[in-house]
Symmetry: D2
Subunit: 286 residues, 4 copies
């Protein structure tokens, strides 16, 4: 099976490495070539090149705009894919975008899966991602060995867009939980309870999401090296807000949480871990 | 030890029953007498009466205003407490109120503990509450047998107000998590993912607070019998917002979440469980 | 001068009529033909047809998506415009979209102006619109007679996108002011001040935007016939939120106001005037 | 007529001076004596002293807590007022507080008016305030000469609390309009429209509240000398939020606007004019 892989960032580089480790021959492309240096894969000068001979093409890009440009821009990959090939988009985008891409593929006789992942840097490295998949069952089946090389599970949630939908809900919950925790921490500390007491009482308790435990040392040390950069969480909440508009929903909590991340980004925290909202809400200048 | 107990609502009645079960002799008062009917305790016509001979007086009331009125109003309990008595307020109030009460007690030679509880109807019944306590260590020690009769643990967090502070942070997190979950559910369902799939995927996952699992059947059946009434959550978030103002904090997420509960209350859901915000966000009228 | 006009809704039909009244020969297109019935203009079966011979083509459409589809979709107008023609987009869109359209035109040797209007149904009818224009000064000059036929003024704010930018700020202020007024009214009435007293005291006062006076009878009679439909205000606030994201701004007030309009739309008020948020905030069901 | 006056801040000192100018003999008290130095009035060491012989006592204090303490604290004024005296509270408080004070007065045979003012430093100086009055018509009549000495009008809106209610609505609208304007300005500037163009286009236009014109030079020069300090606007929005809770209203716009002022205060802008939110939303640190 010929596999193409486009997008070698924090996530993509680790996922590609796991594919190689499992014996797949990869042809890869990235906006900047140096990200491909460590990989035992064939470098391709353009998205189109990476797609040319692929049975399955994976994309792991940062935004819908990046996917759009890489697919349809100059030397984009979509016209280069052969009929009956599969494009698996693991980028975190929004459901209407995934559905639109599915439609573009259908016109060209190409199969499409939306397959964003649950899990960040760590699980990408160890092959413990979970793929959240939307698309035809038979196509999912065909890609199963690839998912297995990169993740511990893949779940099929329905037609195209369903994978992206689940991922969007998951990230909305992550953002909400992180912002809520930051507010609770700020309130508690302002009332004289120490940060260490608050962390000890709250983390692992029924009222806090378990993923927050992994943020403990970052918060304790006020040192927010990025596992999941704040600016991508901000982007995901933006896409959720955009989707809520498309769906005719009012989600006022989401909007407020999104603006907390927007403020954090304005305060220079965009490339820190998204748990850095804990710093934002403490900040004062008198 | 003579124990007084004022406030026999959902929580107080169960806590008083556990004290009796442990062999304490109780003198009780409630705004309406019928709540005392099942209890093997001496009924007192007024707060003052319940306080008169008490070594320790517990109050479990709904709002700071109710505590204020019961303590200082006509036949209020505070003037009736004897010197060296202990007043333990387990009501969910705000820290500045607890500190103010502590000051009023100090003037009169009375000891004060703020000791709100973690846990709602179920743990109150089974004696599995956790008391979150602020006040003098020696006084906490004195009340330990009482806490043990009603709860599985009591934790001492510092001077007066510390117990109330922790409780406030816990309830802020509860409200945030509940509203966030409701928004995630609404978004997911609008995108065509079934409620049962969403509950199955999200509950118990790292992104959701564990307490949400106990809400599963309510959400599944859209039937929100109250364990913790929505109107009290709204009140607690109101007190948190008031406290944020006192502390000079900006907590925009809290404010948005509070208004979600306010809207739910306006839509007639105040006496339902606070998980009924899941219904609010689904609602449409065309 | 051959003039094309695409989009004959509430605004477009009145603007086209004013062009005809001033002696311009018009070739028009609309998604549904019946909107063109009253106009002394040549009907064109497709956007492309309306554009074919045009020296200047006006579009007055509801959303960026509608503009995109009408320009680039099947029988879209952009490929049909001749070199050196001018496309004037009076639709309310977002600045990055206007700039993108300008770029698409530039590639094809076509001139582009973004020229949304200040003023709704009444001024459209009486020719009292104000055009807020972005683009090359010479092109603005060329179109001046057309602007004068439909409006009382046109203002040139700079390069492409500047007209759309000003319009976006204006509509953000409209939405903020309307929602703020609705909240003030709800608060005042809840406190026992009559609606008529509130309207008398507040409208025309220094604290309220003058446009609100035109909403008086709607609010008094709780009858919100649309001058400017609520769903378009919601759309404009959505585009403002999207633009704030693109610009890296945090605008938490805008987000909250947007969700008020989202809720109103969910409650069935989308086709009412945007002042119908006054009804939303009064609503209770017990 | 013997007049007492308590509270000689920015507003009170100017109001007292106007009473003296109109020939009233004043006995005054303030927390710090130096504020009374310029006034031809009799200094009183305590609130009680200022109230002792008063036919009418005015209070102009900053918060409900300050009024409460001055009335009921040590050497407070309320017990010192004689029967049939009038207490006029011009402080900006919340309606339920005004009603509570009215009740306390009634018990003691004292008359009460809530009479906050529309207008800040300038109108206080020139006697152009407008008194917004709640209470008995006959009592309002009795105080008319005093209102006339300090203001250009007084309006009677109904029973006690009505004056405070109107004032609260007015300040909610002020806060909303100011925050909305600041957001519009931030959005416009981010899009490349100059501040001076935005001010020129927007101020005086139908979409902006007329009071904003008086903020022009502050915003132009980014120099926010206080006419109405931001921290008092924050307080007033806090009281409005508290009142919305009491009234069972959901006002999500108000909550978001309140937090904008909270953030501005945290950023050190509390003693600046409330128009300084225009600076907050521009601020970035990278």
């Amino acid at each position: 099976m010929n596999v193409g892989f486009i997008g070698l960032g924090i996530m993509g580089s680790r996922m590609a490495a796991n594919l190689i480790r499992s014996g797949f021959r990869l042809r890869v492309h990235n906006r900047t070539q140096e990200k491909a240096h460590g990989l035992a894969a064939e470098w391709c000068e353009s998205p189109a090149n990476a797609a040319r001979k692929a049975d399955v093409l994976f994309t792991m890009l940062s935004t819908p705009e990046a996917v759009q440009e890489t697919a349809f821009g100059e030397r984009g990959f979509l016209p280069a894919l052969v009929e009956d090939a599969v494009w698996v988009d693991s980028s975190t985008v929004h459901p209407s975008f995934s559905r639109h891409m599915a439609g573009e593929c259908r016109k060209r006789g190409i199969h499409f899966l939306d397959a964003p992942v649950a899990g960040s840097k760590g699980p990408a490295e160890t092959g413990d991602l979970v793929f959240l998949v939307g698309g035809d069952a038979a196509v999912v089946e065909r890609c199963a060995p690839l998912f297995e090389a990169m993740g511990k599970a893949h779940r099929h949630f329905g037609a195209n867009g369903a994978g992206t939908s689940i991922k969007m809900v998951v990230n909305l919950l992550l953002g909400h939980a992180m912002a809520g925790f930051a507010e609770g921490l700020a309130l508690g500390e302002s009332l004289g309870i120490s940060r260490s007491t608050l962390l000890e009482v709250l983390l692992g308790a029924p009222v806090t999401a378990p993923f927050l435990q992994a943020k403990r040392s970052k918060v304790e040390n006020d040192a927010y090296e990025a596992d999941f950069p704040l600016q991508w969480m901000h982007k995901d909440l933006h896409l959720a807000a955009l989707t809520a508009y498309e769906q005719g929903l009012a989600l006022p909590g989401l909007q407020a949480v999104k603006e907390i991340f927007a403020m954090a980004r304005r305060r220079g925290l965009g490339e820190k871990d998204f748990s850095a909202v804990c710093r934002l809400l403490q900040e004062t200048r008198r």
